[in-house]
Symmetry: C2
Subunit: 349 residues, 2 copies
């Protein structure tokens, strides 16, 4: 009997085509159909093709929830970012999603908007949705969240920060060292009054690390970051502009500015242009991220290249490996590069 016709009589009442329907049509047991789906090689070739045909003919699509319930895994993974509307995390998300997709996982995303409460809520919801693994940005958060995750017994990674001595697996880079290096470079140029434009520090360990790096460099050079040289604002160009206005109207304006993230640097550069403040002639500007604009803007931005895509991809790979049983080694810290371009130079005489 040839298998054909989409309207092959379904045994089920009406709605859905189930695995049982396929089994009927293919004249095998439901268990066999299940095997065809999960470990095809364990099924006789003849039956296997019969089942395949039946699936085709009926347009059968497995029911994810039923599968998840029976097998205790959903092939879904979660990812919570502080934001998903910018190219920074966008690149990570994209890479994460693509890598997961290639491994036949589906990804659930959410944005915490840098709010720990929202993050916790999203983690809760995702756990409840039955994710098999989870990606989180940064390490610093309520222990309750980690306990929740552990209670569900699923693997997770934190990203965007390396963590040699941390209890949590981390895919990322050493923000502190990178910031220190960049600041060292500024000192080496002859700067001594280096201001810091930072994102909001509370609940943002990456930003805190970077600030720590600056401080370390300061100390190494026998100086100390003056309070009035540290400004903290949400990430955004407008904030960068505002910060530049504030800092340059001080009695002793800095000769260089370290920006914790690129939008702040762009804002600073645009505002400097608007005010006829020469960059780097009068003030040098350096930042973090190496977004697409960095090399296009004038002056071209000196910045730390941060492995955004790699992070997403490596985090995904780590989780995939863990899920498939192999315990991968803890990911090694990723590299950053200081990219020197035009926005930094010697301090004015």
């Amino acid at each position: 009997m040839a298998i054909s016709s989409e309207s092959a009589s379904k045994s089920s009442p009406a709605g859905r085509v189930t695995l049982d329907d396929v089994a009927h049509l293919a004249q095998v047991s439901p268990a066999t159909v299940s095997r065809c789906l999960n470990r095809p090689e364990s099924v006789n070739l003849e039956k296997r093709t019969r089942v395949k045909q039946a699936i085709q003919a009926l347009g059968y699509v497995p029911h994810g929830a039923a599968r998840a319930l029976a097998s205790n895994q959903s092939r879904m993974v979660g990812a919570v970012f502080p934001a998903i509307d910018n190219t920074l995390f966008g690149a990570s998300l994209d890479a994460f999603q693509r890598t997961m997709s290639d491994a036949d996982y589906t990804v659930i995303v959410a944005s915490s908007t840098y709010d720990p409460a929202r993050e916790k809520q999203h983690v809760r919801r995702m756990l409840q949705s039955g994710i098999d693994a989870l990606m989180l940005v940064g390490l610093a958060r309520d222990d309750e969240i980690y306990e929740l995750i552990r209670a569900h017994g699923i693997p997770y990674v934190t990203v965007w920060r390396s963590a040699d001595h941390q209890p949590h697996p981390a895919v990322g880079f050493d923000n502190c060292a990178a910031a220190e290096h960049l600041t060292d470079y500024l000192f080496s140029l002859g700067h001594e009054r280096i201001a810091v434009f930072s994102g909001i520090l509370a609940d943002n360990d990456r930003a805190q690390d970077r600030l720590a790096g600056v401080r370390k460099s300061y100390a190494k050079h026998g100086h100390k970051l003056a309070d009035q040289y540290l400004i903290e604002r949400p990430f955004g160009v407008e904030q960068g502009r505002e910060m530049l206005r504030l800092i340059m109207s001080q009695d002793a304006p800095p000769t260089a500015i370290f920006c914790g993230a690129e939008p702040l640097a762009y804002g600073a550069i645009f505002e400097a242009a608007a005010q006829n403040i020469a960059v780097p002639g009068q003030v040098s500007i350096a930042a973090f991220d190496d977004t697409w604009l960095a090399a296009q803007i004038s002056p071209k931005l000196t910045t730390v290249r941060t492995p955004n895509m790699e992070i997403g991809e490596e985090a995904a790979k780590y989780l995939i490996a863990t899920l498939s049983g192999v315990q991968p080694p803890l990911p090694r810290p990723l590299e950053t590069d200081l990219i020197i371009r035009e926005s930094t130079g010697r301090p004015p005489a």
Copy 2:
């Protein structure tokens, strides 16, 4: 008997705390616990609080898959974008996700990278994951996809394009009209040689619409878009730079350039600066999107503001309404605004 202690004897073997465990502890039937979760008001206050305490004490988290299986809805929705690593779709995704999250839905995303085959694959996977609704960008795609969706009986929206006479619900704006309007403006300035920098047109109905709008305006003014004035490249700054080089080295270079998306315009502006081509003195540049950079770059970009966030939010609202039983009216086309800034002016004499 006071309810307490996290280690209250669980009836289940070991792993998971189930609804039945809660029922035991609270001395009610499983059904009552279920009701507490889904329609609390239908449960006696006393029992309700007892159940709540038990849930707390046990740290109970409902099992999404089991719920989905029994109730035939997963409270997950899918969204497939052509890309998710830029601020354009990022803003939409963010708004979509936030709106969904507020309505207690979880969102699954994927990027098709402008590839129809990948899109189909993602839709398949999402359907299989059991999404309750789906968001897709644009209308033009294989009918097979629409049939797949219909077979699953779930609601969907298309976005980024309005569709008065289309068979599919759409949340978006009229790309053609907006492009026509922008081109009209260019003509009104005195331009007659207007080039078009477009994204890849194949499989991108938004880009096609915009081109059609330009052509319409051309026709209205008694002209015709010359073939050599139309260049097609993937979206990206580098491509914009390349396109500018190409177009300005022609025998009769255009006096204005219509860019189908902002990255192309930025590239064009940067390249023009590099080549000492005055904008808008020698060539005017206009675009679509009104991304954050548009108002910051020099010259400030004349562009069509496109309701990116609104699209995400309205699409989510439409789906939420549909899912909750009310059949919302088909969304009306969203507004766009022509924002005239500095990058456009009269053609050179």
